[in-house]
Symmetry: C2
Subunit: 657 residues, 2 copies
């Protein structure tokens, strides 16, 4: 059965996933390299493996054929996700080089940049950085302090770090290997600031010396990912030619005239940033796959390790036969499947919008102002929200799952040789990078509140309140619409508080979907109402927003939970009939009911669940854990994690003695 299930999980990019699996198995030595090498040796070994993989031609998969790529963006993402089965420093290093650095050139540059740099970036000859984050600014990218001031006398930009807070920080590839950086800076032309733009700035000579005016330093040891050389960059009036500006969305001519086809600066900024959504798509997928590695290890261990003997039995009981152990691991297993399918749906949508070679399906389909047409703009914002949401839930899931797996393996889980330590340490920052999860969920909620209108395009959460003030009438309309939706749902999902049988319909997928949809819509309507009320009362905009920030974030999360659940259900329905679908349906039920159980207080508070029915759900989650348990080994087998990553001493002692 696990073969059929694995094929179904691997989906259309199975071949790429298998290539990466083979590559990881061939480079299994890297899995333990972080343990005994010095930090710089480990970094160099990660680079060496990356360059070897590059030489085999895999890393250009997502790029246009004319620059040495293969025009297969979906395969590229699938391959990247699969890298998360191996050493995560290698994955992150590759993400920095091919996703972020080469991606910025592809998406923000024009043919001149593509021709000059893309082939070298894709084949790893030109190692680069993505220099966005600063010491003083992470989430609020619009407030970056680095400046790039145009000097028409020499036709150069002067890149400068005006203060300590504007220092580029945590930049992958900066401490040791990067030779060039895609630098995000406030563009100043003719004394006027035009907001954040991106320029290519050489930071090291081929010999590894810092370029004049560039001060590079090392972020030093980190909790994990120590095979990646994160560093800091300070610019002291560094001059680069005018052509260094990645000028797809805005140009500066020789005389110093700034122009952009997108007139609204906010809209321009978010259009540029939007092209970089691939990073979030990739990190979410990587986090979900890292969870699979941890679960494979912990579930196999629990299916072998015994503790405490049952009465009348000489043999102790298997850990996985204990209810508490099932409760700790199996709902997380079900949720990993759910997120897997939600991620697959996201990647499909990403490829649909960006095209199979990553160069935009929307090219030429503009609004006559240089921006995207309305429909494409809408699709882009929807994709960004979907990527932000999946990234948030996927990365928090990884943190929770790997922690639980470590605890479930006791002291053995704490030893580096059993790999949970590295998984835990390496993935921990996933909840932060490519967007802090709490900020991302605000972005999700904001998108829902405004129906993705361009006038609401600021990441700044305070913009929410200001916008609401301006759109009070429209919000009122939306509220009415929502109320209708809620009433419709109420009819579709009969309140069973009075039913004699509290179990009735608990495994009915229409019930699950109705519940999570009700929660999403209700929370969203509540946020809109509270925002409007505060604005109507003339309260301070920050106060209005801040008073319901927790509610905003919870609403964003409720939306993503609904999307994930529906993706899982769709995957169950599309699965081959027979054991594969049966197994998935069981896991789906466990995931759906565990999701409702986790928010049962809210459902009861809002009259959607009686206390009795709530208890019935808890009992059914327990039953479903017991039903899934006999298949647990097969279910992790189906993830197809290479043996080198999971055949650790505590699971397969014989291989190590």
């Amino acid at each position: 059965m696990s073969t059929g299930l694995r094929e179904y999980l691997d989906g259309p990019h199975k071949a790429v996933r298998d290539v990466v699996r083979d590559g990881l198995a061939a480079n299994a030595g890297l899995l333990n390299a972080g343990l005994d090498l010095s930090r710089d040796e480990y970094r160099d070994q990660v680079l060496a493996v990356m360059q070897q993989v590059t030489a085999e031609g895999h890393t250009g998969r997502g790029f246009p054929k004319e620059f040495g790529g293969q025009g297969d963006l979906g395969g590229f993402i699938a391959g990247f996700e699969t890298l998360a089965f191996g050493d995560l420093s290698l994955m992150v290093k590759a993400g920095v080089q091919f996703g972020l650095f080469a991606g910025a050139i592809l998406h923000l540059g024009t043919s001149r940049h593509h021709e000059q740099y893309l082939t070298d970036a894709i084949d790893g000859h030109l190692l680069g950085c993505f220099a966005m984050t600063e010491t003083g600014h992470g989430s609020n990218v619009q407030a970056l302090g680095t400046t790039a001031t145009y000097d028409p006398a020499t036709e150069e930009f002067v890149v400068h770090t005006p203060n300590a807070a504007a220092r580029k920080d945590y930049i992958g590839n900066a401490a040791r290997h990067g030779r060039m950086a895609a630098v995000f800076a406030q563009l100043v032309v003719g004394g006027e600031t035009h907001g954040v733009h991106c320029l290519l700035v050489p930071i090291r000579t081929p010999d590894g010396e810092s370029m004049p005016g560039v001060t590079l330093s090392d972020c030093g040891p980190k909790l994990g990912l120590n095979g990646v050389d994160n560093g800091r960059i300070v610019f002291d009036h560094v001059r680069v030619p005018r052509t260094a500006l990645l000028d797809r969305y805005a140009q500066v001519d020789a005389e110093g005239t700034y122009s952009s086809e997108i007139e609204n600066p906010d809209r321009r900024f978010f259009t540029m940033l939007g092209t970089l959504v691939q990073g979030r798509v990739s990190v979410g997928g990587a986090a979900i796959n890292a969870s699979k590695v941890a679960l494979t290890i912990a579930i196999r261990y629990a299916d072998r390790r015994r503790q405490f003997s049952a009465p009348g039995s000489a043999e102790e009981a298997l850990l996985l036969d204990y209810r508490m152990h099932q409760r700790r691991l199996l709902p997380l297993l079900a949720r990993t499947y759910a997120l897997h399918f939600a991620q697959a749906e996201l990647v499909d949508e990403f490829v649909r919008i960006f095209g199979s070679d990553g160069t935009d399906n929307t090219e030429g389909n503009t609004d006559g102002e240089g921006g995207l047409g309305d429909r494409d703009e809408h699709d882009r914002r929807a994709l960004e929200a979907q990527a932000a949401g999946t990234k948030s839930l996927g990365t928090w899931h990884a943190t929770e799952t790997i922690q639980m797996c470590r605890e479930a393996c006791g002291g053995a889980g704490y030893l580096a040789e059993n790999r949970l330590a590295a998984l835990k340490a390496d993935t921990d920052v996933f909840t932060t990078f490519e967007g802090d999860n709490t900020v991302l969920l605000q972005l999700v909620a904001k998108g829902l509140l405004t129906n993705y209108r361009e006038s609401f395009g600021k990441l700044d959460p305070l913009g929410t309140a200001r916008f609401i003030a301006a759109q009070a009438v429209e919000i009122a309309v939306e509220k009415t619409a929502l109320r209708t939706v809620v009433e419709r749902l109420r009819d579709a999902v009969p309140n069973r508080n009075d039913t004699a049988d509290p179990d009735a319909g608990l495994r009915d997928d229409a019930y699950h979907c109705g519940m999570v949809r009700f929660r999403e819509e209700h929370m969203l309507a509540g946020v809109a109402r509270r925002l409007k009320k505060g604005i109507d009362a003339g309260d301070d905009a920050f106060e209005v927003f801040n008073r319901c920030q927790d509610h905003v974030i919870a609403a964003g999360r409720a939306h993503v939970e609904r999307v994930v659940l529906e993706a899982f259900l769709a995957a169950v329905q599309a699965a081959p009939e027979g054991p594969v679908r049966d197994r998935l349906k069981e896991l789906y039920d466990l995931h759906a009911l565990a999701t409702i159980e986790a928010e049962r207080a809210w459902y009861i508070e809002h009259g959607r669940l009686s206390g009795q029915r709530s208890k019935a759900i808890t009992a059914l989650v327990n039953e479903l854990c017991a039903a899934v348990r006999p298949h647990a080994d097969e279910l992790v087998e189906a993830f197809g994690v290479p043996g080198a990553a999971v055949d650790v001493p505590m699971v397969v002692p014989s291989q190590h003695e």
Copy 2:
């Protein structure tokens, strides 16, 4: 204010705490030693600092004066807890040497062992291991596989590892420094096995060579605590003299006659193990103090770092002014205070029972069978449950709090220089060692169910079910008693579901205590009822237990939550009137309501909370976060964590540039 608060927190052992604080400040270099030294160098440096501290005479504080100690057990624990403000490898190494190894000699040995070894163990000349855990057995100590077989021909014990599962594993001090081990093994005398006993076995020569028949190996790198040399020990028919047996509770004479004043083998085993409760007391306190370090860093960072500007303000808002940030950090701050006072209460009780020099206040007060008298036996079991519960909640709290602090500090929190990385990695195993938390909570629940009766003394969770079968009548009686309690509580805590004002009485401490006590009693009665029902139906005992294992653990947890809440309330009531008490009362309210909020689903399900009142509690938690926020800096200042541990670059950049 923070001075008064700090004095109140420091309590009677303030002087000792200050001595340790000064010592940590003087050895601040150790805080970063783990980052760049090799593993062995780091281990040696930890040993060097430990020996220096030992030379200053601090480590013997808890031991009898005749062996170089100071007879101040409370001060010893306070000092140990305070070590958690510094490098945690040092703390754990000291815990292994002085708490576990020297503790085993003190509690399980007799005068011959005390005179021969205790002074050397206390002054650090004799480095030792506590060799209990095996590869195949952690929580189930009674099933250890190592054997110690008496050979009357030579008057020796033969210590042996019969199979791979019986290998001693994760043993601190074993990989590099330990010269002797307190080895727990099945004692075999005259062909009869008498259960687990402890013997002193030399494992290394003074030159560091393994003793003949002893194979030592290294557990290798770990997620954290890499300054501690955890290793493995395999014995191949190693001979030690008869006097190597720590024979306080059982003796073997020259001819090979085994005798013990405690006839029941289970009771003997748990009496021996019970003397080692100090480890759990210490780890819980250390975890709570590690949480203080993380909160000090994260709250000071949040009170300095700005992000996103408020409308009409040029300056961005402080992280700590965002509701979500308050929500993430401040209930954890309040809970840290609660656990601090619960821990202080536990230490007082520990010292009351063990005496100020650790040699038992109960000596001579026996039951005539060599065991403890009934009252002392009851107090011991209660102390063990209290220690197990506080350890569980304290260590899970540390894991959660440090994780949240890391995320709240974003990318900066991921850098080793900001110390959250080490705190996270080092404390992670606290939920496992000195007893896995889930197993410990079962121990707590078991104690409550049986009113600490000796006949229910097996750690084996399956014993629960067997016992219940034998005691069915008594359980029925207890149920009746419980029902009375529950009814009494119901009267004392009016159900306010119908009250017009859902906020009424929410800050009344009698309400909080009534709620948590109701939950505890109700859950416990439910467990008893379910166990009895299964046994009455003749179901398989493992099944009966396993079906409500999650319920058993939740009941144990509910009990500890109640104890913690009451300890905090008692501390508020005993605090000096004025700002100290006011501040504590506010934190107490936040803790109490956040605790009820976390379980609000249960309270609603059981008719103790209406949906409306539940929402009012959530709103009040938000308000209390806002009320605590202006004092947050002062509240972490009062923990008195030495500057060297918390003045990290992201908080105090000027000191590092």
